[in-house]
């Protein structure tokens, strides 16, 4: 018999969920509000929540001073490109490790993850020298390459975990029916793994979009994505919170919209293992 859920419990749990959601969302809301304040109001103590002089002058200043669309286009190309390439490499890798594991599979997986344990700044100078020698400094291709490498371990791990949840018997049954590897991958594995693939893709896209170490250090002008755009609004001498908030709001807008529309896939993918 299903457990009875009283109205009171429902109200409490719904309120609690909204409260936690609001708490998590609050910094973003605060940033958006600050982007509509004047610099002095953005810094004011005690801060005003809604009753301040609303202004869009920060957005006008940001538009005048920077080429937002150039940076946004770079972000889309770099984050999108690195994610797609990482997926193309990771799907066969995770598939082979999940369905034909060897004695060393676990070691290989751990080794991959270990590359994420080193702080990136430790290899900044060697990478910078290599990029300089091969002419990759300040190029989108260079950033796609480095972000793809950086996120590859996470993508492989995530996909490996999803693939492992898929019963081998189903694939074997397909093989018994005479399916080739290609057909097995496309018609049997993919439909079952779609939520996992989608959430991995989205998470990787968000990680690449937000990556701020390599993108700041390896790009100058031509390939500079939105992270560089944001970094140009922090000032050591002079108030900047309102303009920085406007720049940040513009920078997260595309990924926020994407996340909003694909949240169902994201949640389904992330809880895939638990609800099968």
């Amino acid at each position: 018999m299903a457990r009875m859920v009283t109205t009171r419990n429902k109200v409490i749990s719904t309120t609690a969920a909204w409260l936690v959601g609001f708490l998590i969302f609050f910094p973003i809301l605060w940033m958006v509000l600050a982007s509509f304040k004047t610099e002095l109001e953005a810094f004011a103590i005690p801060p005003s929540f809604l009753f301040f002089h609303w202004t869009t002058e920060n957005y006008v200043t940001v538009q005048e001073r920077s080429d937002y669309f150039h940076h946004a286009l770079n972000s889309i190309i770099i984050a999108g490109g690195s994610t797609l390439i990482a997926m193309l490499i990771a799907i066969p890798a995770a598939w082979s490790m999940a369905f034909s594991p060897t004695k060393r599979t676990k070691d290989v997986l751990l080794w991959m993850l270990s590359t994420k344990m080193m702080p990136p700044v430790g290899v900044l100078v060697p990478i910078y020298l290599i990029f300089r020698s091969v002419g990759l400094l300040d190029t989108r291709a260079g950033l796609i390459f480095i972000l793809c490498l950086g996120n590859l371990p996470i993508v492989i791990w995530m996909l490996f975990t999803y693939f492992k949840e898929i019963p081998k018997d189903i694939l074997e049954a397909a093989r018994m029916d005479g399916a080739t590897i290609g057909r097995e991958l496309i018609y049997v594995l993919t439909p079952m793994a779609v939520p996992g693939l989608a959430s991995t893709l989205l998470l990787n896209l968000i990680l690449a979009w937000n990556e701020a170490f390599w993108t700041l250090n390896l790009s100058t002008l031509e390939a500079a994505p939105l992270t560089v755009f944001i970094a140009s609004y922090s000032s050591p001498e002079g108030l900047f919170w309102a303009k920085l908030s406007a720049a940040s709001t513009l920078a997260i807008a595309p990924i926020l919209v994407l996340g909003w529309f694909s949240q169902r896939q994201l949640v389904r993918g992330l809880t895939f293992g638990a609800v099968k």
Binding site: L40, I45, Y128, L129, T220, V228, A231, P236, G238, L239
Partner: protein
């Protein structure tokens, strides 16, 4: 149809016969300070006069810029042609041959017009390695109305005793007014800029002539104890996380009776658009203890050319334009005299138009003159720099020490414990770097 053909042919012949101009693109790396943003906006004035040069800007946060530029210059990456650097970097980078000496700034540049202290700070062995874009020292900014109300009169060169007494008298915590606002946020360029300058006025020094750290000296103890005690009694709450911008906001909102910080703040706190106390601000030299040194620093954001640049001639042309007397006039004609970059040229401080709109000009100049990067302390030191020691290790050490002092201010450690931790951390780093055994 015939007409169209003729027009196309004519246009083509014009295109062919037009002299082809080889374009040089300069990439300028800079920080997001209002004077730099203004320069960015005026770039077209330069490119109109120099049609063969295109200027592209990379604006970054100060620490990101420092990391980015250091990586590029150390690896000879050649990504930048003009760099915005501070007086801290100039002597270190010039000695490593990372910068191109600026000896072709043109006959009408008038190097002799640069303020002598600022010129010294960006020169090594008499050669100019960077051209100062704007310079600053630090001074006391105070509320004339609150001083009048309390019956106090700020001397032009106050002592620390006077400042401490006045701060305590002017504090009205229930009314939300604090006697003094000072930097407390940890960092070599944050609280340590202020505290190092303050320690100079108390007769302290970072290192003795043999590079031995001196945090165990009575002078440093007096400096830190005075600072912590003053801030506990007369400072705003949460001061250990306040830097320049936080204090600027507090002072502009009328919450501080005094603020000791960069002279460039003077134009911000007297600007009625951003400051509620614009017409009630007075200025004085940074305090002293009668030992001959005031607690003021010296800094100049300057333009330099990295050794890896392949466009040195164009870069030098741009630097000469951006730091010239004509540039000052250009800013004045477009945005008014109060917006010209301050603190680099003697002629500016003799200009009646500037003096009329800048009530702080006289004290800014006096403060810059009072700081000597080559002889910053009462006792002799082996280093150059007023609020820093110009050695590559200083950034790391300064920030570690700054964290200890910030902790002493927040009360999570004592003054003695902070000084002893600062001493051992500095000793360790200096031994590792080979200055001492």
């Amino acid at each position: 149809m015939k007409n169209v053909l003729c027009a196309v042919a004519g246009a083509a012949s014009l295109l062919i016969s037009a002299p082809s101009i080889a374009q040089t693109t300069l990439t300028v790396a800079t920080v997001n300070n209002s004077d730099m943003i203004r320069m960015q906006g005026l770039t077209s004035e330069f490119t109109t006069k120099n049609p063969d040069i295109t200027v592209k800007w990379v604006t970054l946060e100060e620490n990101v810029l420092r990391q980015r530029v250091t990586t590029d210059i150390a690896t000879k990456g050649g990504q930048f042609d003009v760099l915005t650097i501070g007086t801290y970097e100039v002597p270190i980078w010039a000695k490593k041959s990372w910068l191109v000496p600026l000896d072709k700034l043109g006959a009408d540049y008038d190097v002799g017009d640069l303020l002598p202290k600022i010129k010294d700070a960006v020169s090594v062995d008499g050669k100019l390695y960077a051209a100062p874009f704007y310079g600053e020292s630090s001074m006391v900014m105070y509320r004339t109305d609150l001083f009048d109300k309390a019956g106090l009169k700020m001397p032009e060169s106050p002592t620390w005793d006077f400042v401490v007494d006045a701060a305590k008298k002017l504090t009205d915590k229930s009314g939300g007014v604090y006697g003094i606002c000072l930097r407390g946020k940890a960092g070599w360029g944050e609280n340590m800029a202020f505290l190092t300058a303050m320690s100079n006025s108390f007769g302290a020094r970072w290192f003795d002539e043999k590079w031995e750290p001196q945090f165990n000296s009575p002078e440093w103890k007096k400096t830190l104890a005075t600072y912590v005690d003053l801030m506990k009694q007369a400072g705003p709450p949460g001061a250990s996380s306040n830097g320049f911008n936080e204090n600027l906001a507090l002072f502009s909102a009328g919450k501080c009776a005094m603020w000791i910080d960069a002279t460039v703040a003077a134009s911000m706190v007297t600007n009625p658009k951003d400051s509620k106390v614009a017409d009630k601000v007075g200025f004085a030299l940074a305090p002293n203890t009668g030992l001959g040194k005031n607690a003021n620093w010296l800094w100049a954001w300057s333009l330099a050319i990295p050794a890896g640049s392949k466009k040195v001639d164009a870069a030098e042309k741009f630097i000469a334009w951006a730091t010239s007397k004509d540039y000052t006039k250009l800013v004045a004609s477009k945005e008014g005299w109060s917006n010209v970059p301050p603190g680099t040229r003697t002629s500016l401080y003799k200009n009646p138009d500037y003096l009329k709109v800048a009530p702080f000009a006289k004290l800014t100049l006096a403060s810059i003159d009072a700081a000597d990067p080559n002889k910053p302390t009462v006792k002799p030191v082996p280093y150059v720099g007023v609020q820093y020691a110009a050695i590559p290790e200083f950034q790391g050490i300064g920030t570690q020490v700054g964290q200890q002092f910030s902790a002493a201010l927040s009360g999570s450690t004592t003054v003695d414990a902070a000084l002893s931790a600062a001493q051992s951390a500095t000793e360790r780093e200096m031994k590792r770097a080979g200055y001492i055994k």
